[in-house]
Symmetry: C2
Subunit: 339 residues, 2 copies
């Protein structure tokens, strides 16, 4: 496993970042500043604050690799990469409102700075822009790429809908939770891994192999993310620690723990069912109970299994060796547990 | 002018309603109930409450006429009609949150029933579904229809962004306000009037003539809507009366009034600039001041001028006479001021 960011991710940021900035210019100024703030191009006053892509640019990197897997130069994957990144950030803008999250990427979330209405609108604009990018591509395969993206957006929305509904339910099963994570996280990752190939007219076997890799890697990523949300260091994650527990999110380690028949599981259930807000001591105790009930061990094991399945998909799919190695490096990188 | 709903609007509801219901089935249950409630298919408990389309189904009717204008049967415009209606309702779901509106179509708005998060997500789902509908159409022109819709969505978002920004500004000009209304309302109306024709491969002159008609009719509609928002009967509009004034919206009659150099205009400006909430007497006084400053007369005159421009576009564009007559009937219908 690697702990430093693979070179391909930084290279993707350099290639896709300017394209993203260019597409943002199409938005009206009132909407653009919110989107540009969220993406890290400007600060809250609109002053330039960086080259954008405050996030990890993982999905753009995967989309560029996807084009290369089909034998095309990475430049031909830029539109798809930008579109996927816009969809990802559309969902972050809206999810932060829904979840009441106040911090992302070490900065206040957009809705806390510009208001809920402006953040909703900026998310809408990025979703629309994502489809635009693919629809303005004159290549006949572009419409296939647009369909691939649209299907991923539907699953993303279904997953977020389930995530919200789970907060109000006490009886969420682990299967439901895995389905939710598959929709909310893995579907867009699968899209990122295949859309570049689809956009350059790759054969179906390649697209499906890449999508399979992305789906498994995406689940491994979500499991790792859930683990970091409980035991990760906030200075690394950029988010407040144990925020998911505080919001009583039915994350995968929590649901795995709650599904056990043990005293720790029952204590965890009782703690999370308490009507009052949970203080820091409660949250630490909840984290300990998740671990005692086996939720941490299960999630770590499942993350490893999903990573192995992703690696198997990769091995079984024909593509240039250097591309396969870069895919593998990104999958390793996003599933390293820095805790 | 006609005061009863043109037959084409009810017919469109019968043709497009089932298609809309069918497309909703693609959404996950958690998201679907919110969208179905908003569209009037179900009540807050999910029990069937009607055949959907609580709204006027104007845009679907225009889209079907648009296909007929190009010599195609209305059935070939159904996908475009459903897509436009989904975009319209995506924007209503999100705008109601942004504007804090609690009532629409004589019912509580979706966010007040299901929460802000669920209403955001339902809007997202309808926007995605709208693009999906056009992308799954195998006809080669479908991608042109998808681009037409996407361009309208961008203008719609820009218009709503300006609308939000105007609430925080005291110096909005009438030109800016007209631009905002053109983006927020007229662009989607222009799209509705042309997308059916575009989707069946109509020549550019026809599509542009229809879009011109829709843009002018859309502005006339917005002016009428703004007038009804101040002087209309809530039992007809389905919305609380003077809600726009209460929210200090920079609607067209208000901005026209504020742009005057008169005592009434200055009094209106002072009243709307008051930091405290406006009570019913204040709102009645504000309405009287808009009228005294000439805002009502200007908006009525401008609505008539836009309707005349729409009629001129219609006369100058070649299409079957019965289709032209139905377009004209809808334009008349949506600009009747029931007050």
């Amino acid at each position: 496993m690697t702990t430093t960011m693979p070179a391909g991710v930084a290279a993707a940021r350099d290639l896709v970042g300017p394209a993203i900035g260019g597409w943002l210019e199409r938005l009206s100024p009132d909407v653009r500043i919110v989107a540009a703030y969220h993406l890290g191009f400007v600060d809250a006053d609109g002053a330039p604050s960086g080259n954008g892509q405050g996030g990890k640019a993982l999905r753009p990197a995967l989309a560029l690799l996807s084009a290369r897997a089909a034998g095309a130069p990475p430049e031909r994957g830029v539109a798809a990469a930008a579109a996927v990144e816009f969809v990802h950030n559309f969902s972050l803008l809206h999810d932060d409102i829904m979840d009441g999250d106040t911090e992302r990427r070490h900065r206040p979330t957009a809705w806390t700075v510009f208001g809920v209405g402006s953040a909703i609108l900026a998310g809408d604009a990025l979703l629309c822009l994502a489809q635009d990018i693919l629809l303005t591509d004159p290549a006949p395969q572009a419409v296939w790429a647009a369909r691939c993206l649209s299907a991923a957006v539907h699953r993303l929305i279904a997953g977020q809908g389930a995530d919200l509904a789970f907060e109000r339910r006490e009886d969420v099963t682990l299967d439901e939770c895995l389905q939710m994570a598959g929709d909310k996280t893995a579907a867009l990752m699968a899209c990122a891994c295949s859309i570049g190939a689809i956009g350059v007219g790759a054969p179906a076997e390649l697209a499906m192999g890449l999508a399979g890799f992305g789906a498994h890697a995406g689940l491994a990523f979500q499991l790792t993310d859930d683990l970091l949300g409980i035991w990760g260091a906030p200075e690394i994650t950029g988010k407040p620690v144990r925020a998911d527990l505080r919001a009583r999110k039915k994350s995968l380690p929590v649901v795995a723990a709650l599904s056990q028949d043990s005293q720790a599981a029952r204590d965890l259930g009782a703690l999370l069912a308490r009507p009052d807000a949970l203080d820091e001591d409660d949250l630490l105790r909840a984290a300990d109970l998740v671990e005692a009930a086996g939720g941490r061990e299960w999630a770590e094991g499942e993350a490893d299994a999903q990573l192995a399945a992703a690696t198997k998909c990769l091995a079984e799919t024909e593509m240039p060796d250097d591309v396969r190695a870069e895919f593998a490096a990104i999958a390793d990188f996003i599933t390293v547990r820095q805790n």
